[in-house]
């Protein structure tokens, strides 16, 4: 017969599960933030015009250039929203719409030099937000 009471055993298991979830959430915060940072640097190089190797060559290379810029911003937004969301969960507060809007504005702010990048990013971010909203609802 076990010397530890059943209630205590349950509490221990629950604590261990909480710690495991906490560890996972913290790892997710770190990894997502690093990935967000990497995509931010990619976006910085391309969207400020620091790297122009694909620009003004022909329509194909312009398309590649715009795609890289848009994807860099979208991934930045996606990873940062994941990271911030998990961070807020760890400190016991939910991610509210103001933080979401702030991240959205920071992402869209990176596109001001190119109207095409702005348009496609706006469209892409709207899809991500709709997707996250639907996932939360269900």
């Amino acid at each position: 017969m076990s010397k530890i009471p059943k209630q205590q055993e349950k509490e221990l298991k629950s604590k261990e599960k909480y710690r495991s979830n906490e560890k996972f959430a913290y790892r997710s915060v770190i990894i997502s933030a690093i990935l967000g940072g990497i995509f931010f640097i990619i976006s910085l190089f391309f969207n400020t015009g620091f790297i122009t190797i694909f620009m003004n060559k022909d329509i194909f290379w312009n398309f590649i250039d715009i795609t890289i810029k848009v994807l860099a911003i979208m991934f930045f937004f996606l990873f940062m929203i994941t990271s911030v969301g998990n961070y807020k969960e760890l400190i016991g507060k939910p991610l509210n719409w103001k933080e979401l809007l702030f991240l959205f504005l920071l992402s869209i702010g990176q596109t001001i030099l190119n109207i095409w990048v702005f348009t496609f990013t706006l469209f892409g971010l709207a899809i991500i937000i709709i997707y996250l909203y639907i996932v939360q609802e269900f």
């Binding site: 906490e22 770190i30 940072g37 920071l106 001001i112």
Partner: protein, 269 residues
Amino acid sequence: MKKLSFRVIICILIVNLTIIPFLFALNGYGTTEEIDSKFGDTPVIDGYIDLFSGEWNKAMKVQINLGGLPPKGLPISLWVMQNDFNLYISVQLELEQGYHNITEFIGLIISNSSSEAKEDFIDAKIIQFSNISVDKFNYFDYYINNSIFSIDTEVNGNGAANLDGVTSTYEFSIPIKNTLDNVEDVVLDYGNTYAFNITYGDVPIYPNGIKKSTTVLINLISLPSTLPSLTNIILFALCIVVFSIIGILYGFYIYKILRLKADIKRVKR
């Protein structure tokens, strides 16, 4: 009687209206094409169009006929390009084996404007082969006064030619806005249009040696503005501000994450 006079006047008027345009046409060279120059890299003026280095890749390329349509006319390839300093024109001429004359030449007779009146063509740049079989050529710069070609005191521009198989290539380089002699040469300027009479001949006597020619209008494009617009400067500054804010916030966020880790450890203890 009055009726007769009226008829005579009408007849004279009709005859005049029919003949006068022809007189104008005879006095000019007759335009065939208008070409927009393109900005490109500086090609080597050596009589070769180097396809590997792509020196003429950005040029405007057109096919024209000198002296009318074939078989009477002579089809040529014309390449027009410019940079910040010079206008580059290349002419490629393909003739059957043995049909290239030993003293063949290509000349550019330049009008001081877009006018095609003969008296406005005051400058001539000619690349004259002295012996095409050994690629010996000379570049001449002439001043034209009343159809008399006089050699310039200062040679303006540069030219080279080469015969490769059945194709002879002529390359011209003409300074834009940097002409040594303003009297004997046409001063080309950015954003203006000039009439160029492209001539082909086989006897080094000008203008009698000219066999076929055609006039084209070449539009020199304006220099691209080096100063960015105020809107672009503001947008770029705004972009830098946005990226700086994100960078600072990102750094602060990483700091907060590390602090969170320390807090978690402290709570666990």
